[in-house]
């Protein structure tokens, strides 16, 4: 975000898996959101249930924020490694909260940093349970900025509702003692007094949650999936919210996931499967079948770094070209890559409509970074009333009755054949993964093959008109043009602002409706003096796509493939390096 904002505070909570890093971060986030502030969070965790090191980064601002910088004002150290790992991103006037009875602090750290010793454990034990350590930490953190304690108290009450009043009371007390301890004892320079403000109410959610909600509103009635980090929370969200309003099957493997969804979609219901790269690899054959049988389906692919199992809990944008070419043979598909929660919601709803209007597979390609990031959003951007359910052209009952058998694959100008569902009186609806005639029966001749192939591929032209222009931002004529897609939006936008502030005139184009490629993409590259494609991958996949599909050549790429997301600062630095600045 730009420096115009007056408040830009970054909290980071570090600890071992199982220590409650996520719960401290999550509750603080919600507290700030209810207090009228904007937040953006980033979660970094390992592929294990206990131990190791994970952290929760929480950015707090009075302006909407879309990315996490790599700097920290308040570090909460729940384990021994937190300080050592994060001390080099502490900014001036920052503070490290830790319980010195639990953690040793080296003299060097002591010399450089403001260590604020909070007796987390003592307070926890005093209030009744050593497990309350986290609650004390929440209170202590909040006390540092003198935020309204009642909001936190209210949240704690909600959270422990099922556990009874005693537990609630003890937790509130633990938090309060932490809060008061800070107020009374903190003497350092990291003091911001941030009062709750009356701002329009915001929702706070992750992008995976946004996809889950989007799917429910879009009328997705069937999800078949196999657990795979970082995709699982999509259906976990859906089940938690609407267990009795759709059917979920946890399958034996991902081959089953996609084919079960295809069976359901053929049956006439909106179906989705969710997975990550490795699971998608197993779905490829079924993905190709969706193409051949023209079965509408949505695949939510939440990426992590590959190859193979790679870094299973981390982030990467390395499955884009894979999705574009996945499945043997050639058939149209649509790829959306959300840039933020609102877009994840919008694109998910649109995905179901596109799938059914054009009888294609639509992939929502997201990556762990965004999937797990909480952000505050304006509820107006989840405009339920505006949602249209578009199921595409349907055959009339009359047609079904008068035609002996139904032409599921009728050759039409748009390539889209009117649809009917099996079980409709008098309708015989057939399709096959073998090349088929209009009735869905297997053929061998070249003419019918060409007809069906061309019909299918024509849909790409037809659906092109539903593809929205990419977003452009910044000055018309700039020295540097940044191009991005998907989850990098926030970091690139903030980098664009920072570069402009530093006198390097910069603009950007960001693509979320990634494939088919909108013509504005090529035009933007043509107009740009120097264009850099910013991607969380090694090979520059979107740059490849630009060259292949527009014939235009971006100047270069800014790539990162260490499993961690871009920070705005990283992009700024890389642009400057390329500019020789």
């Amino acid at each position: 975000m730009s420096t115009e904002s007056s408040i830009d505070l970054n909290f980071r909570v570090g600890g071992a898996a199982g220590q409650g890093v996520q719960s401290v971060g999550g509750v603080l986030s919600k507290t700030f959101a209810r207090g009228g502030y904007h937040i953006f969070t980033h979660q970094d965790y390992e592929s294990r249930i206990r131990g190791g090191h994970s952290f929760f980064h929480l950015r707090l601002s009075d302006m909407p924020v879309y990315a996490a910088p790599n700097r920290v004002n308040v570090l909460v150290a729940l384990d021994d490694r937190t300080i050592e790992i994060h001390e080099d991103v502490m900014v001036p006037n920052s503070v490290i909260i830790c319980d010195r009875k639990l953690r040793e602090v080296s003299p060097e750290v002591e010399r450089v940093h403001d260590i604020f010793d909070v007796p987390l454990m003592d307070i926890a034990l005093e209030t009744g349970n050593k497990l309350y350590v986290n609650t004390v930490a929440m209170g202590a953190s909040l006390g540092l900025i003198e935020f309204d304690f009642d909001i936190l108290a209210g949240l704690i009450a909600e959270q422990f509702k099922k556990k009874g009043q005693t537990i609630i009371d003890e937790n509130v007390k633990a938090a309060r003692l932490g809060y008061e301890f800070t107020q009374q004892n903190y003497k350092g320079t990291c003091c911001y007094i941030i009062k709750p403000r009356t701002a329009p109410k915001t929702m706070i959610l992750t992008s995976n949650e946004a996809i889950g909600i989007g799917a429910l509103f879009a009328g997705c009635k069937f999800v078949s999936a196999y657990p795979m980090t970082p995709s699982t929370s999509i259906w976990v969200t859906m089940k938690a919210l609407a267990h009795d309003d759709f059917v979920f099957v946890q399958t034996e493997d991902e081959l089953a996931s996609i084919n079960m969804a295809l069976g359901a979609a053929y049956g006439g219901v909106r179906a989705m499967t969710t997975t990550s790269g490795g699971g998608f690899a197993l779905m490829n054959e079924g993905f190709s079948l969706a193409g051949a049988t023209e079965t509408p389906i949505v695949v939510a692919l939440v990426s992590r770094p590959g190859p193979a199992t790679g870094l299973p809990t981390r982030t990467e944008q390395s499955d884009l070209e894979y999705v574009l070419h996945a499945g043997h043979g050639e058939f149209p598909r649509v790829i959306f890559a959300p840039s933020c929660q609102e877009e994840a919601f919008r694109l998910t709803v649109k995905a179901f409509n596109m799938a059914e209007k054009y009888h294609v597979a639509v992939v929502i390609l997201q990556d762990q970074h965004l999937a797990d990031s909480y952000r505050t959003v304006d509820p107006a951007d989840f405009n339920i009333d505006a949602i249209k359910i578009e199921r595409g052209p349907m055959a009339t009952e009359e047609e079904l009755k008068t035609s002996k058998d139904f032409k599921s694959h009728r050759v039409t100008e748009s390539g889209v054949s009117p649809r009917a569902f099996p079980g409709t009186k008098d309708g015989i609806i057939a399709t096959a993964g073998d090349e088929h005639d209009e009735y869905g029966h297997i053929i061998e001749d070249a003419e019918t093959r060409n007809e069906q192939m061309e019909k299918r591929m024509r849909k790409l032209d037809a659906l092109m008109k539903d593809i929205e222009e990419p977003l452009t931002y910044g000055q018309e004529a700039a020295d540097v043009s940044l191009i991005g897609w998907g989850s990098t939006y926030g970091a690139i936008k903030e980098a664009t602002d920072l570069l402009n502030e530093e006198g390097i005139s910069t603009n950007m184009m960001h693509v979320v409706e990634v494939f088919p490629v909108h013509k504005v993409v090529g035009e933007f590259v043509t107009k740009a003096k120097q264009s850099f494609v910013v991607e969380n991958n090694y090979t520059g996949q979107y740059a490849n796509i630009i060259r292949a599909y527009t014939g235009k050549l971006p100047t270069g790429g800014i790539n990162k493939y260490d499993g961690r997301p871009f920070s705005p600062g990283y992009i700024v630095k890389e642009v400057k390096r390329r500019m020789g600045a």
Binding site: L205, G219, N259, G268
Partner: protein, 287 residues
């Protein structure tokens, strides 16, 4: 009244070898559907890839012709999307016990309401005669002239060990019996698994019509298919004597009944009634 003509497919060129055991299976299935007085539009078949997987093209029913080995996931999805459909899966032994093995054992466990027919010719027919999981030990194939050295799988025993709710075997050479078993399978509530001994006149020169005919015998009225251990023992018979009929019946919950929404109607109905506004309240949880 439904007649056999209602099931007449528009596809006239049947791509099976003359004499193939798939012909009587097709015939038996048609007759079973007619005798059950089911309209073609009420029936949806899901098949895989292989000779028998072409079967649904040869009768007039709704059809989703899947990939090799993926019949059961799609059929399960379909049966949940519209549980009023009569869902029948059909595919080969290679398709079902080879490529699709994992779906088979897991579909049995889930118990969707459908019939699953495996046309077991103990060979890969369409790909020209390689061994399948049910190819008899020692059988000579084109590319293993020395004989197959891996013992055959016993699908009956495996299905019983998984507590499959309906386990039956028929022989393609006995049309009437096949028809009766298929009727029972279709009427069964839950996953009805029917393995049909199907002579492949081109590639399997061992397990011929005659070979089977000399061996198969029908389970008598005194046979109790609900006795698991008896069924397991019966399932071991393969050689001089091969039992046909319903080997095992086991009462267990049907998949669809586990789902609250499906108690209100089909999922397709629910889909048709869907209004985004119905979920409006759910956003509250995110404030």
């Amino acid at each position: 009244m439904v007649t056999i003509e209602d099931y007449e497919s528009r596809v006239k060129d049947i791509a099976w070898c003359p004499g193939c055991g798939n012909f009587p299976i097709l015939e038996a299935l048609k007759q079973a559907l007619v005798e059950l007085n089911l309209e073609p539009w009420q029936v949806a078949m899901v098949s895989g890839i292989g000779q028998s997987s072409k079967l649904p093209h040869y009768l007039r029913v709704n059809e989703y012709n899947e990939l090799h080995g993926r019949i059961l996931p799609a059929a399960t999805g379909l049966s949940l999307a519209n549980h009023e459909l009569v869902v029948i899966g059909v595919g080969g032994d290679g398709d079902g016990y080879g490529e699709g093995g994992n779906h088979w054992i897991n579909a049995i466990r889930r118990n969707p309401n459908m019939t699953y027919i495996v046309t077991n010719n103990q060979i890969y027919g369409l790909t020209k005669g390689q061994a399948s999981p049910t190819t008899d030990y020692g059988m000579k194939t084109k590319d293993e002239p020395g004989g197959i050295h891996i013992p055959a799988m016993n699908p009956m025993a495996v299905a019983i060990s998984l507590d499959c709710s309906f386990v039956a075997r028929c022989f393609a050479g006995d049309l009437d019996f096949m028809k009766e078993i298929l009727k029972k399978a279709i009427n069964h509530k839950g996953f009805a698994f029917v393995d049909i001994l199907q002579p492949c006149v081109t590639w399997n020169k061992v397990n011929t019509y005659q070979w089977y005919r000399e061996r198969v015998y029908k389970l008598g009225d005194d046979y109790d298919p609900t006795d698991k251990f008896a069924a397991f023992q019966k399932a071991q018979e393969w050689g001089a004597q091969i039992p046909i009929g319903v080997l095992y019946l086991f009462k267990r919950p049907i998949l669809k009944d586990d789902y609250v929404p499906l108690q209100r109607g089909t999922l397709l109905d629910l889909q048709k009634e869907h209004k985004p506004s119905q979920f409006k309240d759910l956003l509250k949880k995110f404030f």
